[in-house]
């Protein structure tokens, strides 16, 4: 509960943040709700914290064309209650509303959450299912990376040292239906398993589907196998059972712990997929 020594620097601008964040042993500080617990347990001992919390350039939620752009510093609470997000990416609003507790939602940010890439986090699963893109800015310039390419492994992303997530861009789901459901760990409320589905339905049949799973695997994962079973079906009970089955056999690398062993998590991915589809169909 007593971090080791570190320097604290407040970034004056995005460029300043990138410059300060590029030095050895530096880390960005956003909401602090993943970083500070790690510091307190001395699991992480950075030499300096670069506070990006006051950079207006990283704030705000806006809609342009057919996508919603969410500044990296938007808090879970802001996203959960944003009319724009609720309209264009309702599953993300719902997921952010299920993060931790009110204190966590009021401080924690989307950028920090995605950068941290905790396998038990909620937003990565949803950003992945929705086909989100991350806007990054570093000393080498700006780039846009699809969520599919951003998450590499347990707590590992495509971010370069000193590179910032500036915003997350999510294509509007339009007429598609979506839902995120999670089994919360009773201690931490992180996801034991979380499933997000995005479905296009026409004439009583599913014409397009994306299925993403988090919590169970080292990184949020898309399942084409499960989506394929759903597509063309009428999303009835039999189709859901089949999709669940496809999903549970499709998942590789499922994790287990004292609370939820590997086989349970795998099975729950299927159960929660069915719940997600039912929730999406309302």
């Amino acid at each position: 509960m007593y971090p080791s020594n570190f320097d604290y620097q407040r970034a004056a601008s995005v460029a300043d943040a990138i410059q300060k964040g590029s030095s050895d042993g530096a880390k960005f500080l956003a909401g602090g709700h993943s970083l500070l617990p790690a510091l307190k347990l001395r699991l992480n001992e950075p030499e300096s914290l670069v506070d990006i919390g006051r950079l207006d350039a990283l704030k705000g939620i806006s809609v342009s064309g057919s996508s919603v752009k969410i500044g990296a510093l938007s808090t879970h609470a802001q996203i959960a209650t944003s009319a724009d997000v609720k309209k264009h990416a309702p599953a993300l609003a719902s997921a952010c509303g299920q993060v931790g507790d009110p204190a966590v939602r009021n401080r924690g940010t989307l950028g920090g959450n995605l950068a941290h890439a905790d396998p038990a986090s909620d937003p990565p699963t949803v950003v992945l299912a929705l086909g989100g893109k991350l806007h990054l800015q570093g000393s080498g310039g700006n780039r846009v990376v699809a969520a599919e390419d951003f998450f590499l492994d347990l707590f590992t992303t495509d971010l370069n040292p000193g590179e910032l997530i500036t915003a997350v861009e999510i294509p509007s789901i339009g007429q598609a239906k979506s839902a995120y459901v999670k089994m919360a760990h009773p201690a931490s409320r992180y996801a034991v398993v979380g499933v997000c589905v995005v479905l296009e339905v026409s004439g009583g049949k599913c014409s397009k589907a994306r299925v993403a799973v988090g919590g169970a695997t080292p990184k949020a994962t898309l399942s084409a196998a499960a989506a394929n079973v759903l597509v063309g079906s009428s999303l009835d009970a039999a189709a859901l059972d089949a999709a669940a089955k496809a999903l549970t056999s499709d998942l590789s690398d499922v994790m287990g712990d004292v609370y939820a062993p590997e086989d349970y998590r795998r099975a729950m991915a299927g159960v929660y997929l069915k719940r997600a589809v039912r929730a999406a169909l309302g």
Binding site: M1, Y2, D101, P186, S188, V258, Y259, A267
Partner: protein, 789 residues
């Protein structure tokens, strides 16, 4: 009834709350002293190891560090005492030292300390201490620890057995089991729990060399006992050399009853260094170094007649006590467990055999309920197992075996001389069933099952033991407690008529300041605002044994009541004198003394208190001032009871459990403040349900705590629960004049088996008859996988 008397039994708001809610209350961490130093403790990362050497030289040179010590530097300080050893049997005692010297028996044992100008520096310097360990094989399971070939923790405890204890009648129980129509056997685990008060432990010690006196602030539920144990047993100095203060204490649940090494370490450090030293526990330390609770492995055999009459109960328990013994560890799984195994039932033959066992795990001692939750779990599961075996309704089996109201005082024999004081068990059950709508529920359950929804109902008709005292019963000649257990109070009515009560018990969330003031106001006929209640400082309060076992009201407040009667007697004498009446003609009513039948001519208690304090005119031989001190040693314990009912729905696919309803009928005797009692009941239910469904400390085979943080150890959250449906029956105890029994632990004691019984009932279609706690979704799912779910 006079208006003022109604204050007893009224829901007035807790006077403690404004300071707690606004953050003005001063906890240990808020205390700052000039020259204060900060300590950080190096703890063993190994569960079982020899300490070959400790090199502190680098740490000592770290800037800001004042001193670094290891165990050998305190070889002159005695180990902690074990104050409650199991009665009438040999206890193989090993207790912690302020810092261990050459051996550790659990992960988290303190072995060195850094004292620095600030806490961060102290923490940094810990990393500079080098320890050479010889790691030894570990054992964490209490049953395995007793088997041959298990690692041995202590030379004086062969097979790691700290204590072997029995109660009841072995031969008769064996015979009755042989003769029973059915015998049900079950192995059950009462898992280890981590108490988790909001405030962790902490201590500040300040030593004054000139007078050789200490002032010690600590997070304790029993400051007087702490002083006694520290001075007389650990340091070997007169008790008068130490003042112990427990400031606002942020919850304890039992874990703050005990004398911990860190408290003595701070005292030893401040004596060595000559400056005050503070240690505030981190949550990580709290999880490994503060006592845990429960942790039993139990085999039971219940014998019954075909009609459901229970004829015998045989219980064999391995109680895990951890790597060393905490202050009252051996007393919990013996007296407070074995002697309560009859529950609310007439069971003619009971035999209980307990091994208290050392393992390479954290210390285990009293945790809210302490022994009685474990006993209640055994007996309330046993009743359901009998019902299941015989195809009877669990409610019917309870009714069949209840001790009837006319049988009180009832001697369950295994209580070793005490008797259940009073009870109306069926009445509480009936009220609970009515609230539930039992018959309807069974119909609803049957309907739901047809649709593939699994509802279950669980009952727990409990009795527990509170107001633990009678010194002769609990003490060395009886149950082995190394002291008496009476309580004390001093009541002073000041010149202005304001009343100051000091008590030897301690309040760390219970609301004593309110409920005691209610008793004073009610008895004296004054405003509750004219009473203040002081506690938690050995200076200025009479000796008392502290707060645990729901005893502060049934023992401590009775001492207050007794003092009030003596004060009223004296007020009557003085009032009569002031009224120029004969003492035998006056009465004390509603705060006034007057000649019976003439209330118009009266003297108020305020006037009388003034006269007593000024002492210008007192009856011959009367001493000035209205002041009385009482020491109350009750003739018996008290036995609250009731029925709790839980309704759950289990999701077949995921094993998730939803609590749909929770009904609690508690009979805690007379109630002083219903709101406080409800608060205690609610909090207790939450903790008890949490054991059933979520909490559980897990050590790996090497003795590493896998559930070492709040990220892994699932304490309950408010949204896990429905609104509780609570009510009471009120059966006053004849044991004390207030008729109060105790309300601090009933919820924890009753609720756990009610929930497990409900889950098992829900899963009955799958052939499930028992599940071990915590009954988590993954466990239920696994059971269903194997049972056609």
């Amino acid at each position: 009834m006079a208006a003022a008397e109604k204050i007893i039994g009224s829901r007035i708001k807790r006077r403690e709350d404004p300071r707690l809610i606004t953050g003005e209350a001063k906890y240990l961490e808020d205390i700052q002293l000039p020259g204060l130093l900060h300590a950080a403790i190096l703890r063993s990362p190994h569960a079982h190891a020899k300490i070959k050497s400790i090199d502190t030289s680098k740490a000592a040179k770290h800037p800001g560090v004042v001193a670094v010590y290891a165990g050998k530097d305190f070889a002159d300080v005695n180990p902690m005492p074990c104050a409650w050893q199991a009665g009438k049997v040999k206890n193989n005692v090993n207790t912690p030292r302020v810092l261990e010297i050459d051996r550790v028996t659990f992960t988290g044992a303190g072995i060195a300390v850094v004292v620095a100008e600030d806490r961060y520096t102290a923490q940094d310097a810990l990393e500079l201490i080098h320890v050479d360990y010889e790691v030894l094989p570990a054992v964490v399971d209490a049953e395995k620890a007793t088997k041959s070939g298990a690692p041995q923790l202590h030379e004086n405890a062969p097979n790691n057995i700290a204590v072997e204890w029995t109660c009841g009648t072995q031969d008769a129980t064996d015979r009755a089991l042989k003769e029973a129509d059915v015998v049900v056997k079950q192995r059950m685990i009462n898992q280890r729990l981590i108490p988790t008060p909001m405030e962790t432990r902490g201590c500040i010690a300040q030593y004054q060399a000139a007078t050789e006196e200490w002032t010690v602030w600590m997070t304790s539920q029993a400051p007087h006992v702490m002083r006694l144990l520290m001075t007389a047993f650990v340091f070997g100095v007169p008790e008068t050399k130490m003042r112990v203060i427990s400031p606002q204490v942020g919850g304890g649940f039992g874990a703050k009853i005990f004398l911990y090494p860190e408290y003595c370490l701070m005292a030893a450090l401040s004596r060595k260094i000559g400056r005050p030293v503070k240690w505030m526990e981190t949550r990580s330390e709290n999880y490994i170094a503060t006592t845990h609770g429960r942790d039993h492995i139990t085999e039971i055999e219940v014998g019954a007649k075909r009609d459901g009459t229970i004829t015998a109960l045989k219980v064999n328990t391995y109680a895990n006590l951890g790597g060393v013994l905490s202050t009252i560890a051996p007393g919990i799984p013996t007296t407070l467990y074995g002697r309560m195994l009859s529950g609310t039932y007439r069971i003619p033959n009971i035999f209980c055999h307990v091994y208290g066992v050392y393992t390479n795990t954290g210390m285990v001692d009293a945790y809210r309920g302490a022994g009685r939750p474990e006993a209640t779990y055994v007996i309330e599961r046993a009743v359901d197992l009998v019902a299941h075996e015989l195809g009877l309704d669990p409610v019917a089996v309870r009714r069949k075996n209840f001790i009837p109201p006319e049988a009180f005082p009832y001697d369950p024999v295994i209580l070793n001389g005490l008797k259940y004081d009073s009870g109306q068990y069926e009445k509480a059950l009936d009220l609970a069933l009515k609230m539930l709508g039992y018959e309807n529920f069974r119909k609803e359950q049957a309907e739901a099952r047809k649709q593939g929804r699994y509802l279950g109902v669980g009952f727990s008709s409990y009795v527990e033991i509170c107001g633990v005292a009678p010194s002769a019963w609990i003490g060395l000649p009886g149950e082995g407690w190394g002291a008496g257990l009476w309580e004390s109070a001093n009541v002073r009515v000041h010149l202005t008529g304001k009343v100051v009560v000091t008590t030897g018990s301690q309040s760390h969330g219970q609301g004593h300041e309110t409920s005691v003031a209610q008793v004073v106001a009610g008895e004296l006929g004054i405003s509750v605002d004219d009473v203040i209640v002081q506690h938690s400082d050995t200076l200025g309060t009479p000796f008392g044994y502290g707060t645990y076992g729901s005893r502060s009201t049934a023992v401590g407040t009775v001492a207050v009541y007794n003092s009030l009667q003596k004060i009223k007697e004296k007020a009557k004498l003085l009032g009569a004198h002031m009224l120029e009446a004969a003492p035998e003609d006056v009465v004390y009513e509603d705060g006034k003394v007057f000649v019976k039948g003439s209330p118009d001519q009266s003297k108020t208690i305020q006037e009388i208190a003034g006269a007593a304090a000024l002492a210008y005119s007192l009856p011959a031989g009367m001493e000035p001032f209205l002041d009385n001190t009482s020491y109350y040693d009750p003739p018996n314990c008290t036995f609250p009871f009731g029925t709790h009912i839980c309704v759950v729905e289990v999701d077949k696919e995921s094993g998730e459990v939803k609590i749909k309803r929770y009904i609690a009928i508690d009979d805690v005797g007379k109630v002083i403040n219903p709101m406080i009692v409800e608060g205690q009941v609610h909090g207790g239910i939450v903790q008890g349900v949490a054991q059933a469904l979520w909490e559980g400390a897990v050590y790996d085979d090497n003795g590493q705590l896998l559930t070492g943080s709040l990220m892994d150890y699932a304490i309950p959250k408010a949204d896990f629960f429905p609104t509780f449906e609570t009510d009471r029956t009120e059966t006053p105890t004849p044991v004390n004049p207030l008729g109060v029994k105790g309300a601090g632990e009933t919820g924890t004691i009753a609720s756990t088996p009610a929930v497990v019984n409900a889950v098992v009932d829900a899963l009955a279609p799958f052939g499930v008859k028992h599940m071990d706690m915590p009954v988590t979704p993954p466990k239920i799912w696994r059971v269903l996988q194997g049972n056609g779910g």
